[in-house]
């Protein structure tokens, strides 16, 4: 549903989105990276396990929660991609406290 416009001036980094290695321009938010790489939903809800995706992109709706570098419940819209970052879609509450994927 989304694409990233080409920008040749920016350095690229490698990140892993649901175990798949992709190359992303630095400065991209994790949410933008997930959406422009084909993810339509990024998590399921705690209550009914329904699919959700980034909604506000400014850190106030908490609908873009993902597992970033093993840590659950991270706002994908407020986090920037970094070299070798691991990003996973989150199911419900995600891995329990302290548990690393």
């Amino acid at each position: 549903m989304f694409k990233q416009l080409p920008n040749s001036d920016v350095e690229m980094v490698d990140v892993f989105l649901n175990q798949q290695k992709i190359s992303v321009p630095m400065g991209t938010s994790v949410a933008a990276m997930a959406l422009s790489n084909g993810l339509r939903s990024t998590r399921t809800t705690v209550i009914s396990n329904s699919r959700r995706a980034p909604f506000c992109m400014m850190g106030v709706c908490y609908d873009c929660l993902m597992i970033i570098d093993g840590k659950a419940n991270q706002r994908a819209c407020m986090t920037h991609v970094a070299q070798d970052m691991h990003v996973e879609s989150q199911q419900r509450v995600g891995p329990i406290l302290g548990e690393v994927l």
């Binding site: 549903m1 989304f2 990233q4 416009l5 920008n7 339509r40 209550i47 850190g59 908490y62 929660l65």
Partner: protein, 465 residues
Amino acid sequence: MKNHYQLVIVGAGPAGLAAAVTASEQGISCAVLDEQAAVGGQIYRAIESVPEQRAKVLGTEYQRGTALAKAFRESKAEYFPNTKVWSLTADKQIGLLHDGKSKLITADQVLLVSGAIERPVPFPGWTLPGVMQAGAGQILFKSSGVVPSEGVVLAGSGPLLLLLAWQYMQVGVEIKAMLDVTPLSNHLQAMPKLPRALLAHHYLTKGLVYQRDLKRAGVVTKIGVSDLRAEADENDELQTVHYRHLGREHSIETGLLMTHFGIIPHIWLTQAAGCKHQWDKSQQCWRPSHDKWGNTSLQGILVAGDGAGINGARSAEHTGRLAGLQALYALGVISEAERDKQSITERKWVKAERHIRPFLEAYFAIPQEMLATHAKDTIICRCEEITAGEIRTAVEQSHGDSNQVKYLSRCGMGACQGRQCANAVAHIVADAGGLAVSEKSHFRGRPPVAPLSLQELASLSEENV
């Protein structure tokens, strides 16, 4: 970061940057705390890193942010990005999270410039993947150059919808339709306010140019749309948008719907501190009560920019400077006469920026039946997944105020802490015969105003040993 500053500014949008420059010029200790990674707030997002081509499409209003960001970088204000402020007390103690650690600092003067959030207006299917706020679409474009690849339907009300459509058109995004929910009665209500708005004709002209360009490009705009509904495919993701127009049902196949229903002040911190608030009928939102300098009901706590009431980015810059001057005066750094002298030009600008607002507020007002939905199965609280029907039932079982509805239903108790449902709940409560929408019908705000893990909270003890 020090433990005490003469002035702490929360937010690095136009108001915060302007205030920081004004205040730090006088040599006071001033810290700017901001949750984002870079300066500019939402309006000038990515202003320091945006590629030239993209900045051009975003327009001259956006590029105004460059000078402001530069002046701020050259100032002596200390800047702390990626810093979440989760508490503010009436005695000006600030709880914050920086580098994964919590910290409490104090200030003589606190300026809250928290900006605005998009007004959440629930409708059937608004939680589906593929439905997002128009502001979110614009942020994706501004900060990451990410745009719809297979077209988008834009729906709702307000100038941002038009601006986003125009910007998308410049980069070749297909606009499948523009669905404007403002009824004809709005346009009639707005007419008496047009003469004053003409004093700010540059804004009106810009809007008309966008409309003309979109029409020329063949974009279909439907005005007076109602019964907006988003429907899912077998994967529970958006497939179809349904709506009613001129008495007939219509539908469009689309994987992406961006909605906009105006913006409202982000008041969670002023609420936590206990500042007095009021319901602004014209702007259909709560805002902290304040005087012409930005002083709230609590001494030493000031507000400016859209967080104080919606007046736009340019106005935010000027009200930010006024609040900066007031803080300097309150600190005893400048005299009352000096403050007043320096404020003359700023105040003229604030007044000029106000001209268009009453017209915009009437023209783009959200219809009452959308604010207080009757669709029983529509989710109102996105976090706890509480429907309009459940809220109406809770109203019947309670004394009919938002906070009791919260206790009974859990709406507003999820991760967003009511940011996405407070408005709708207050309107539904009023519609169901409960408390009228007023300064009393917002959820009570308490610290922490943003989710904080126990580990993050516990790090306070290490800090303060």
